[in-house]
Symmetry: C2
Subunit: 250 residues, 2 copies
DNA sequence: CAGTGGTCTAGACCACATT
DNA sequence: ATGTGGTCTAGACCACTGC
């Protein structure tokens, strides 16, 4: 379940390098990147490798490839940097320059409650229960309730919980966090949650429930995040996919 | 702006074929696909082509590739089929087997209001304004307000609006719908929206705003979807991406 | 026509998992 | 040692864009 932290292969280095140049406007929005042929010479690689780098940027929504013309740098930074992936609160905080603070309300070892395990894992699975309140500019904004499954996790220092669980898992334990399913709904929260978020009696909350998996497909985290509705914003970049719809290809 | 409708290349055909087999449980969840080598023989292609097919399935969350072992079929169908992409209501309806109906409330030619154009397009851009109410089991659930820009669109038959705008654009006009930015918030809706959704005075709505683009990067659709909060559910599959965060590669 | 991206190939070498 | 996926290459042919 533990994997190498860094794979410094050519395509990732190149993708990262171009992404940085787009962020710093060395490659400006609404202009074309150098052609694939030129990028091959620039980085001294074959064309397929360059194309894999560009494919990563394409998926992220940083560029749009146009046949016969080139790869155009898109101008979506104003709206949003991709948040739809799996991102820790600390990464978000840093990326968006928010004035955020995290308070650990609870950190205990228990078992995952039955209503969360339906079919996904066996009942009575041990886990760390972690409850955290996220403050922005001193105001409570999000309440996170995490079950971090044990195994695979067998220790969770208070400091890691207060700082960044993901950084701890990836950097200290070399966990390879890979994918997640998420669900966003609007609900009438338990009174307890309402209090912690300082909400009025009638207020609804936005609930983001997610199941996060490691690269070897083991489930390791079940989360419910309760957001103040007036502060909630989810942004996404999506490409049209046509695989599952009809007999028609693209 | 108009592009070919279908590219029946090998990698898409193979990806689609495997996706169908996964849906039909010919390849069961929690089992491994045939190895890449075997798939090469099965489909009579080179390995890189097979790998591109598998990469598509990987992005969709249908499989998880594990080095040294194989490509495991994931079991997320129960939760969700990918809805986070750009999907038309009709496609969703069909895929999820809902009992849905669409009522066209308005279809006129106007210009895009200024507050929607900030910086994205020039002011006074002509467009079709389309307002549709979506009913599920006879109950109003979503109100869609679309501005379909003209150009590129110069005609929009009432029938296409009632049926599926996307199908009309892609199949009749060969538009190549490519990507979109989305934003989800919870808001206090205008009284007019509240009435159409049959909501009580205090109720909030979930608003999904999106900007949809063609493959040549021209904006062609600006949408605001108002959802009843009690019925709203957004599901997503996401892979962890690390390009934009730090100096560290994966 | 030349330049661009889109697709495909056959082969190489590596890292990881299994026996 | 064998089988698996991960990366990279050099070259081919095609389709689209623009001069």
């Amino acid at each position: 379940m533990c994997k190498s932290l860094s794979t410094f292969n050519k395509q990732n280095i190149i993708a990262h390098d171009i992404a940085i140049k787009i962020q710093h406007k060395i490659y400006a929005a609404q202009t074309f990147l150098p052609s694939e042929h030129k990028l091959c010479e620039l980085y001294g690689t074959s064309r397929e490798t360059i194309r894999k780098s560009l494919e990563q940027l394409n998926e992220l929504g940083l560029i749009q490839k146009i046949k016969g013309k080139g790869s155009m740098v898109l101008d979506i930074q104003r709206f949003t940097f991709p948040i739809s992936g799996i991102t820790s609160f600390k990464e978000l905080n840093k990326m968006l320059g928010m004035n955020a603070k995290t308070i650990v309300l609870k950190l205990t070892k228990t078992v995952v409650p039955d209503f969360l395990t339906n079919g996904v894992i066996q009942p009575q699975q041990p886990a760390f229960y972690l409850e955290r309140l996220r403050l922005i500019n001193g105001e409570p904004e999000v309440l996170d309730r995490d079950y971090l499954l044990s195994p695979p996790l067998d220790e969770l220092p208070e400091k890691a919980a207060a700082d960044s669980v993901y950084a701890y898992l990836e950097e200290n334990l070399s966990f390879d966090i890979s994918y997640a399913t998420k669900e966003i709904t609007v609900e009438n929260p338990p009174e307890e949650v309402r209090k912690k978020l300082k909400l009025a009696t009638a207020d609804l909350v936005v609930v983001v429930r997610s199941y996060t998996y490691l690269a070897d497909t083991t489930l390791f985290q079940i989360t419910a995040s309760y957001h103040r509705p007036d502060k909630f914003k989810f942004t996404d970049f999506a490409r049209r996919k046509r695989i599952l719809t009809n007999t028609k290809g693209k």
